[in-house]
Symmetry: C2
Subunit: 426 residues, 2 copies
C-alpha cells in the first residue's frame, strides 16, 4: 500500500511546501506521494514556509503575476517557475457582482458569484489538477490518472495533454456517451471498468499498491495532498477581487468537503500573512438533499457523518461518504456558518434564477449553492446586509439533462407578423 | 424598411465612434440603428475619431484597463464608462503557445492558438453581442433580439439577462433540445418559427420594418455595424498578448466573413496608431468543404461568391451566401494569404489533434481552422518558420455530436489487475 511507500526524494522543489503534516496527529513527513499518516491514518496536508512579515511586498508580487492561479505560487506547493511550464493556466475566473440576483433574493449588501465555469475545461477541477500535475512532475510520475464520472476526467485528460504526460482515466463502463466523448477527445487512455463507481475506485486503490502503478500519479489519491491545495486559489482570488478584503459570508458546495476546508485554510493564511484585515467570516456548506450527509449531521448537532447512497441530479456533489465531512462541520460551527441542503427541484429553479438574473448558466452544483443561499436567506440564517460570495464551480452545458425537461420555447409560431401579435409577443 | 429609418439621435455617446460610413461609396450617416447605405445599399461600418499620435499613452491606458474587451474601449463604439455597466465582460481569453501542436505539424516558428472558448458563454459571440448591447442602450432599445441556431442564441440570452434587457431569440421550431435548453435557460423569450432558418431570418427582417419591432435591437441586423466591431478585439488581444507585436500569419474561420474583415481592420488600426510595428501580415480564411463558397471563389481566381447550400458538421460556419465574402477575398489577396477548406473528416481529426496536443477541446469551427492550418502547411502555403496564430472561436462541448461517433473508451475491462495487464495498460 502507498501508505507505506518510502518518500521518493527529500529535495523535491515544490516552492514554499516544506513537508506533509497529518491533520489529526501533526506527524510530519518529507514531501512525497503519500496521503495518509502511517501513525494514525489521518489525512496528510501540506505544511508551508510562507513569506510572513512582508505583506506589502507579497501583495505586489502577486499583483504583478500572471492572470491565473500561478500568481499565488508563493502560497502553493509548486515550483517558482511554474507559470513557464506547459500547463492549462487555470483560474483568474470572474467574480461577478450579482445585483439583479441580490434584488430578487432581498440581499441589500454586496452579493457576488465566483464563476469558475471560466476555467479551461469549465470547472474548478482545473485548479486542483494543475497543482497535481506539478507534484507529478516533481515526483517523476509519467502517467496522470484518476477515477471519475465527469468533470475530473476532462480536467485530467486536458491537463496531461498540455503538459505532455500520458493520462489514463478510469470510468464506469456504462457512462453516458457525452461524458465519454468529453473525456476521450484528449486522446489519453480512457478505461471503462465493468462495475459501479465504487468498483472503479477500489480498482484504482489496488493499482496504486501494485508495481504496474509505480509511475502513476492518481491526482486525488496519492497526489491528493498537493491536488487539494489548488482549491485555496478560489479564496485567494475572491479576496483579491474584492480589493484584498474578506467576504463576510461564503456559500460553498460540499462533495468530499475538501474544497470548503481549503477555502477556510486559505482565508486563515491571508489573515496570517497580513494580506487582508483580520475579521470574522462565516462559511456555509451546500448539499443536495439527495446526498446530504453533512447537512444532516449539522442539523442533528452530531460530529459523525452517516454515509448515504446518493440520489440527486447534482452528480458532481454525489459523494455519499465525504472524507472531509467532519472538518466541514468544524468549520461551519467555528465560523458561525451552517450546512444546508436543497431538493432537485430547488436546484433546477436556482440554476434558472441565476441564468435569468445574471446570465450565468451553472451546472447543478451551482444550482445547489444558489438554492441553499436562497433557503438560508429565507430562514434568516444568512444576513442579507453583508458581503456574500456564492460559488459556481462548473458549467451548465455539462449538466444540460438536469434542466432540459423544464425548458422549452415560450412560443412556436408561423413566420408572420399576425402570428407574432397573436402570441402576445409584439 | 429600416434602411429608411431616421437617425434616432445625433448625440449618442458611443465613445470614439464618430459616424457610420458606407464601405462601398463612403457616404456618411449619423450614428443610428441602420446597417445599409441608402445610396448604394452597401454595408455600413463605424468611422472613428481615434486617439492618434500618442501611442505610449494609449498603450499605458489599455494595459491599465480591465482584463476584458473593455480595455480597448478607446477603439470601440462604446461609451468610456462601459466597464462599469452590468455586462458579461467578455474577452481576455488565452493565447496558448502551442509547442506540441507545432511539433506535430512541423512548425518551427511560434504557433499560438487564440482560444475563445474562455468567453462567458464559450464562443467569440460574447464579444460582438457585448458591443451590440451598448448600441442598444445608446439607442434606447428595450428588447435584444436575433435569429440563431446556436452560439448566438445563448450569447444574446445571457447578455440581455446580465444587462437587465428583455430578450427575444428566434429559432427554427425543430432545433435540438440541447440547443433549446442552452438558450432558454436565460429566461428570455425564445420563439420557435415554423419553417427553415431562412424563414426565421425573413421573418426577422419583416419585424424590423414593423411598428411591433420599433424598440427591438437585432444584434446582427439593425445593430450589425456596432456588433461586428466586437470582433476587432480578437486582433487587439492577440497583438497585446504577443507583446504588442503583429503575428506573421493568422488563420481565421469564415462564416459571414465579418470576423475576418474586422480582424484585418483592427490590425491596420494598431499599425496606424503606432501600437505595433508596421510590417506585413498574411490572413488565411478557413471554411468547411461542405460550405466553402469563399474558398471556391479564391481558388478559381474569381471576385464573385456563388452561394451554396451548406452541408457540413461545422454548423456555426454554415452560411451559404456570406455577406462579407468579397471583402474576405480582397484581404486574403492583398495580404498574400489564402482561403482553404477541409472535409468533415479532417475537421474531426483536427479537433482531436488539438485536444490531444494542447488540451483544448474546440467546437467544429476550431477543427476547421486547425485542419486548414495543417493543409496549408502540407501544401507549402503557410510558412512553418513564422509566427502563426490559429483561432478557436468556440467550445467543443457545444458540438459533441460531431466527435461522438469516433470516440470510445480505449478499453473496457473487469476491475482487476490481471484484466488491466491483459489489456496492455500496465
Amino acid at each position: 500500500m502507498s501508505l507505506l511507500t518510502e518518500p521518493r526524494s527529500e529535495t523535491v522543489d515544490l516552492g514554499p511546501a516544506a513537508a506533509l503534516s497529518c491533520r489529526e496527529c501533526g506527524q510530519r513527513y518529507p514531501l512525497s506521494p503519500i496521503f495518509a499518516c502511517t501513525d494514525c491514518f489521518g489525512p496528510l496536508e501540506i505544511a508551508y514556509d510562507l513569506p510572513t512579515g512582508q505583506p506589502e511586498e507579497l501583495r505586489r508580487r502577486i499583483e504583478a503575476g500572471p492572470n491565473s492561479i500561478w500568481r499565488y505560487a508563493p502560497l502553493l506547493p509548486v515550483p517558482a517557475d511554474v507559470a513557464g511550464k506547459p500547463n492549462l493556466n487555470p483560474g483568474g475566473t470572474p467574480l461577478v457582482r450579482a445585483d439583479r440576483l441580490a434584488a430578487e433574493l432581498g440581499v441589500t449588501g454586496e452579493l457576488h458569484v465566483k464563476d469558475d465555469s471560466g476555467n479551461p475545461t469549465h470547472s474548478f477541477k482545473d485548479r486542483v489538477v494543475a497543482c497535481a500535475v506539478e507534484a507529478a512532475r516533481a515526483f517523476g510520475f509519467t502517467t496522470l490518472s484518476c477515477s471519475s464520472t465527469g468533470n475530473l476526467a476532462g480536467a485530467v485528460g486536458a491537463a496531461a495533454a498540455r503538459a505532455g504526460l500520458r493520462s489514463c482515466v478510469f470510468i464506469p463502463h456504462d457512462l453516458e456517451q457525452a461524458k465519454v466523448t468529453a473525456a476521450a477527445v484528449y486522446g489519453g487512455e480512457l478505461v471503462g471498468i465493468e462495475g459501479s463507481y465504487d468498483d472503479v475506485n477500489r480498482f484504482c486503490s489496488e493499482l496504486i499498491g501494485d508495481p504496474a502503478g509505480e509511475d502513476w500519479g492518481f491526482v486525488n489519491v496519492n497526489l491528493r495532498p498537493y491536488y487539494a491545495e489548488g482549491s485555496k486559489t478560489l479564496a485567494y482570488e475572491i479576496c483579491e477581487q474584492l480589493g484584498w478584503r474578506l467576504p463576510d459570508q461564503l456559500v460553498v458546495p460540499i462533495a468530499s468537503g475538501s474544497q470548503l476546508t481549503k477555502i477556510d485554510k486559505a482565508l486563515r493564511e491571508l489573515i496570517a500573512l497580513g494580506l487582508v484585515e483580520d475579521k470574522p467570516y462565516k462559511i456555509f456548506g451546500a448539499q443536495a438533499e439527495g446526498c446530504s450527509p453533512v447537512s444532516q449531521a449539522f442539523k442533528a448537532g452530531q460530529d459523525v457523518i452517516r454515509p448515504v447512497r446518493p440520489a440527486t441530479i447534482a452528480k458532481s456533489l454525489a459523494i455519499g461518504n465525504p472524507a472531509d465531512g467532519p472538518y466541514v462541520l468544524d468549520i461551519a460551527r467555528r465560523t458561525g456558518g451552517a450546512v444546508e441542503d436543497v431538493t432537485d427541484e430547488q436546484i433546477v429553479a436556482a440554476i434558472k434564477l441565476l441564468a435569468r438574473t445574471e446570465g450565468i448558466f451553472a451546472e447543478t452544483a451551482g444550482g445547489v449553492t444558489v438554492g441553499v443561499t436562497r433557503k438560508l436567506l429565507e430562514d434568516g440564517v444568512l444576513d442579507p446586509s453583508l458581503t456574500t460570495v456564492v460559488l459556481n464551480t462548473g458549467e451548465g452545458l455539462k449538466t444540460l439533462d438536469a434542466v432540459s425537461p423544464t425548458t422549452s420555447p415560450t412560443a412556436v409560431i408561423r413566420p408572420d407578423l399576425d402570428a407574432f401579435r397573436a402570441a402576445g409577443l409584439g
